[in-house]
Structure formats: structure tokens, C-alpha cells
């Protein structure tokens, strides 16, 4: 089995750069991904900025406990190399920069999957996603809550798609759980429909910025 084990911070210092390489791979290379910054209550925090050329193909992983299985690789939290089908394995600590960036990316995959339950995914053309990277800490539960807050209150997503009818989009947006601000730009009608809003107060509290 020709497999690589890539350590994103378990026993070395790799984190910020390595995780971007992973995300690029998970997008099939069809993405421009970078770090930016977002201001939350006067704190300039790093953000993850994703520009997707093929949002239709980005499917969430199969979660098997602390192992996430993607179509051609796996992500595992902790030091142990999991027993998964052939493919590279990326190891990362449960908390930390790499895990925070990874979970920020996951929130986009979950948002697209949620939209795909009511809209035709094959019509998704391009997507842009900006999400503040939550202040992670050694407390896993606290960090996980902050990841969730970032996704539900701090993320901004633009999705360009084709739909015959703006009403279908409206209906899809109504059915979404809180996900920050989501805008769908209908290429057919030239209209934009927006749902959700940035929850700065909640983010401030969740991030411990008070």
C-alpha cells in the first residue's frame, strides 16, 4: 500500500501551511484558499477564505469517530494511525491551528450539503466563504463550542448557482440552520437572496472576547 502519513502538528510544528495543502487537496485543486482577517469586537482575528471553482463536488467526509474519511484520504485526530482503506492519512491534534482551520472548512462542506438537500447541486457554479478562525485553546469542549459559533454566527458565504425560480432558493434558505450570512446569487434571474446575519454579540461571548 503506497500511503503517506502527514503529520499536521502531532509531533512537529506543522500547522498553518500544511492544513492549507490538505484543504486544497480536498477541493480537488479547484480552489483558491488563503488566510485573511476578520474584526470581531475590535479583535483582528485570522480568517479562512475559500474561493471554490467546483462547489458541486465538495461532499462532507464520512465521520468514523475521530477519523474522517474523504474520497482519497483520511484525517485523524491524535497520534494513532487509523486502519482505513488505502489513501494518505493526515494526523492532527484535536485542538490547535490545524484542527481549527479544518473544522472551519468542514462547516462549508456541511452548508453546501444542507443546501444540496433542497437545491440541485449540479447547478452550483462557484462559491466564496469567509469564516473567522475561532480562538482555540487546550480545552477541547470550549474550542469545539467556538468552532460552532464561528460557523453559525461568523461565516459569510456567497454561492453562485442557476435556478429557474428565486422561490426555490428562498425556500431552501428558510430551511437552513443558523450559518452566519448565506447569499445565493441566481445567475439566471440576476437576483441575490440573503439569509442569516452575522452574530457579533454571540461571537464576542463565545470567543471569550468580552
Amino acid at each position: 500500500m503506497n500511503r503517506q502519513i502527514i503529520d499536521l502538528g502531532v509531533s512537529n510544528a506543522a500547522s498553518w501551511h500544511g492544513i492549507l495543502e490538505l484543504l486544497h487537496r480536498l477541493c480537488g485543486g479547484a480552489a483558491d484558499i488563503s488566510y485573511g482577517d476578520r474584526v470581531v469586537s475590535g479583535f483582528r482575528l485570522p480568517s479562512l477564505e475559500i474561493r471554490l471553482d467546483d462547489p458541486a463536488r465538495l461532499i462532507p467526509p464520512d465521520r468514523q469517530g475521530t477519523v474522517h474519511v474523504w474520497h482519497d484520504c483520511a484525517v485523524a485526530f491524535g497520534a494513532g494511525v487509523p486502519d482505513v482503506p488505502a489513501g494518505d492519512v493526515y494526523l492532527m491534534p484535536e485542538c490547535g491551528a490545524a484542527a481549527t482551520v479544518y473544522h472551519a472548512f468542514l462547516s462549508l462542506t456541511e452548508l453546501l450539503a444542507a443546501l444540496g438537500t433542497t437545491l440541485d447541486r449540479t447547478t452550483f457554479q462557484w462559491a466564496w466563504y469567509s469564516i473567522p478562525l475561532a480562538p482555540f485553546c487546550d480545552d477541547l469542549a470550549k474550542t469545539q463550542a467556538r468552532w460552532q459559533a464561528a460557523a453559525s454566527g461568523g461565516a459569510v458565504c456567497s454561492l453562485w448557482m442557476r435556478c429557474e425560480n428565486d422561490e426555490l432558493i428562498r425556500s431552501a434558505l428558510h430551511s437552513l440552520p443558523p450559518c452566519g450570512e448565506i447569499r445565493i446569487h441566481n445567475l439566471k434571474t440576476a437576483n441575490t437572496l440573503i439569509a442569516g446575519t452575522l452574530q457579533t454579540d454571540c461571537l464576542t461571548k463565545a470567543f471569550g472576547l468580552e
Binding site: 476578520r38 457554479q125 462557484w126 459569510v156 428565486d166 437576483n191 437572496l193 440573503i194
Partner: protein
Amino acid sequence: MQQYSVNEAAAAIIERQVLSDTERLQIKAKRLANGATVLDFGVHSKGGFLAGKYFAEIGMGGLGRLTYGTMRLRDHLVPSVQIFVEAPAVCEMASHVAFWKLPYRGGQAVISGPVRAIRGADQFARAVGYRDPAPSKAVACIQTGELPDEELCELISEGCGVSCENLYLLAARTGCMAGAVQVCARNVEQSMPTVYDHGFPMDKIVEASAVTPLVSMTDDESVAYGRVNDCLIYGQETNLYVRCDDKEITGMLDQLPFSKNDSSVYGVPFYELFAKCGNSWANVPRDWDAPCKINFINLTTGHVFSTGQICTDVLERSFMGERGMKL
């Protein structure tokens, strides 16, 4: 700079980075019967963020870099296109500027890109002393909804003196991501000819950068065209780093930005303005192709000057569309 070939540099990007990666970039390359290579960056191809970045950087002859960022549009964050330019006179005036007009099928084809630097194809290319030193290849770009054919390639070839077999022609429509990105990347490209029109010497512009909000696109090519031009005239901000006397800047500041036009023009979406001109650039007054905002940073004096303003009203209308809504 006289030894640097914008066409060779652009061709190198195409041959080393683009042609081997067309599937990932979601573009197509086609060799025509006359040997010219047409690169479909978004006519029939999808044309996304990655393709748009390459289109712009190729058009700048390897002297410009595009990065994506974020801007605030009132209550909304929107993606933005940032351009960083070296040797602005060569990068923009001699290469990137879209001003070489070729009579084609009863109208005109507007060509941009390094090809303009071979013979100084138009007034802006001729405004600078740079000529591409004996390029073996020519690279041209066009914003169009139809894939270029042999006839257009032969016109370009005759005009620049490089054979069709050694010509690359990049094409993208406006109503796709790559098309919108490459137009939004024409921020410095829009500012420099405006500054030139007012007599400012191009060799006094040392560096340049700019940012444009990427607000909207749509399948309707004419609506897309209007909206992406709104991004430039109402939303782009250019920084020009210059060495000159402050008076050379202050003397022209009021005349530069799009906001100098009266209310019958300023505040009107470009879609409507263009329609008033019969949807032909030949009828568009020169003053209407003006940048939103320019900052001059004078390296000689340390002073900074600014002119123009962002118009969020028009940009927000473009962002939302006529019947957009916030749920």
C-alpha cells in the same frame, strides 16, 4: 526592462502552468486550422476563480499579480480582487490595457494583452517607450461571448507581425467568474490611461496596486457587463506610487475620478449609461471610463493625495439585483 519580453513571459505562464492543467482550471485549449491557439477561459468553458487569476496575470505580461481578498460593502462582506503591478507603464499601458481596436465583422474587436507591446498597437501602448524586443510568441486577450475564429486570429497576427502558429488568444465572456475577475482586475489598467489623458508622465509612476469589489455576475451578458463595470467606476481604489512634484498631482486631481461627472451620469448604473451609448464603446465619452478612487503616494515628497469616492448605493443595487431580497 527593455530586454524583458511581456509576450515571452505571458507565453511561459501559458505553456508551463496553464496548458498542462486545463482540467483543474476548467478551461479548454483549441488549435485552429491556421495554427493559432485559442484558450477558452470562459466562453463555453466554466471559467472560475483560478482561471480568472491566470487570465489577468497573463494579460499583464507577467508583471502583475492577482490575489483575492475581502471588502466591506455596507453591511456585507464581499470578495475582492487585488492587483500588484511592477513597471506599471509596461505592465498596463503597453500590455494590459484593452484598447487595440480591430475592424471585425462590421464592428470592432477590442484586444488587450502583451501583443499590443510588439508594435505599439494603439495610443496607450504608444504612450510609453517600451516595445517587446523580438518576441517569438504573441499573447492576446479578448472579452467576448463568442469563441475567436481563424479570421480574428489572422487579423491579430497581421497587426503584430507574429505568425498564427505562435499566437495565443485568451477569451472569456463577462458573465462567468473568470470574466468578472479579469474585468475587476482592470483597476490600475483603468486608472493609468485616465492619468495619462491629463498629461501625467507614465515613467513617473513607479509602482501600483489596486483593489476592486467583486460584487455580482449573471448569465445575461449585458447585465453582467454593466455590473462588473459598476465595480470599477463605483468601487475600485488604485494606489499609484510616483516620483514627481506635488503640483503635477494636485493640478489634475479633480478631473480624474468618475465622480467628476454630474448626476445625470454619476450614480447611474453602467448598464443604463452603456445603453444610452447604443451599447458601443465607440460612443462612450472618455470621461465615463474613469476610476472610482485614486491615491497618489509621492515617493519624492512623502505626501499622499486622494481623489474620488466609493459609491455603495450603486454597488449594493448590483449586488442585490432588481428583485433580490434579504429573508
